[in-house]
Point group: C2
Chain length 296, copies 2
Amino acid sequence: MIIDVLIDKIKETNNPTAVGLDTCIEYLPEELKMRVNDFKSAGEIIFEFNKRIIDAVGGLIPAVKLQSAYYEMYGSYGADAFIKTREYAKKQGLITIADVKRNDIASTASAYGKAYLSKSDIGIPAYDFDFITVNPYLGSDGILPFVEECKAYDKGLFILVKTSNKSSSELQNQTLADGKKVYELISDYVAQWGVDLRGKYGYSAVGAVVGATQKEEAESIRKRHPHMFFLIPGYGAQGATAKDLSVSLGSDGSGIIVNNSRGIICAHKKYSDMKYFEAAKKAVIAMKNDLNENAI
Amino acid sequence: MIIDVLIDKIKETNNPTAVGLDTCIEYLPEELKMRVNDFKSAGEIIFEFNKRIIDAVGGLIPAVKLQSAYYEMYGSYGADAFIKTREYAKKQGLITIADVKRNDIASTASAYGKAYLSKSDIGIPAYDFDFITVNPYLGSDGILPFVEECKAYDKGLFILVKTSNKSSSELQNQTLADGKKVYELISDYVAQWGVDLRGKYGYSAVGAVVGATQKEEAESIRKRHPHMFFLIPGYGAQGATAKDLSVSLGSDGSGIIVNNSRGIICAHKKYSDMKYFEAAKKAVIAMKNDLNENAI
């Protein structure tokens, strides 16, 4: 099962880091930026950048996470760069996560599932990622079509439970009449949606997005659901540190994958004497050491 | 302001219908389906289908709503068909709504806003719709970047409040500790987010998605927010009728746009002796009459 493959890769690399390829022109080093003048060149340069980052760090990490928003800024050329990056990452043996946060009613959720996890209605795969993120606002019938795709094609989901942004509390931390918090209610649904997709380590391929910046909430969700796998944003640019992650670990010291996007792909701004991909490698090694010393 | 343009077009056509171009190969008539064998031909045929539908019904309606999930099934060719359809609809004078239900933390929400409402970070517009749908699960800081794009580029939003699907109650109808329902809380946020974007009719360009299938909730939201504009899914294939819509109307008898997707683009299955675009036209006229006789 894909969740087992992810966990095995984390063990193998001794590194629960997903490199976030939130690649947009604004984030690129000058030498690449100056070669962009339209969507076509933008798509090409983004793919070139991603490829070099993957070449530099691929052996050190289990997974990459691509944030679709950035690619969507460049229309169909962005879509192409998204697909090509996924293909290249897969070829290098990485687990691929599409951070798309899709959500809709059943018939449409099924179309999104086909687009990102399996095959279109003409039998050809389009984006074909291993995992995608989805948003639970619509409830079960908007999620179960994705779960069906996961069962049929050995794929996985990360469902938003407690997001890393400050205003996430406005809805997610509301207390319900029965005393439960909204994020706790959603975490209970996630556990239920994923019950048939548990792998050999006990973790389900239907996991949760839980921000590293949300320590108290992460602790509460981990206590409720010892075998829920967490995709954790918020480390680095968003302000959380390795020490904040320990509450999210499962009892086996596993159960998490930690995303870092800007801290890695924009490392060339910090280490300005290095090539961007060497700077990214340096940032990945620093993060790996930080996680191993302070979190795991 | 774009919300005023939408309302004027509804008055002009005497028809608060958005035709939902949820175009996928599965829904096409056989004569088109048989010409599809890869993503390239899929994209071309989808655009041809949409163009003919728009030619047939464009003069009768104020707006089209494109559901991105279906286009995303065909990778970059689907993205192209999505963009071309938007361009063509705009040329025919229609208001364009991208039903993308996007949502993310601020930096990423801003990228989505640039992709769908304004211009990418290299100054070129990609999708450039008049309105998009967004999901409120992340709270204010995930929504305000979209509102900023609306202010700067005269665009609008429809934020999910109470969706048309059955399981929407699982989260949206939860009662909070203070007695408010989740959908009521979200509707209050929507009103607040849109307060600076009120047009000449009093309605804000930051509106709400409220399912026609959710009569009691629609009534409650309308009472709380007399000047919130509603994008209403759920009429037709999802089971709601024109009579269900009256509770959603504002005191001026306006304030709604009602989407119908499958009931129009799949009308060729019902009226099988007609060309698909003539069948769509017949369905649009029937819906217009139904809305005028039974809802407005």
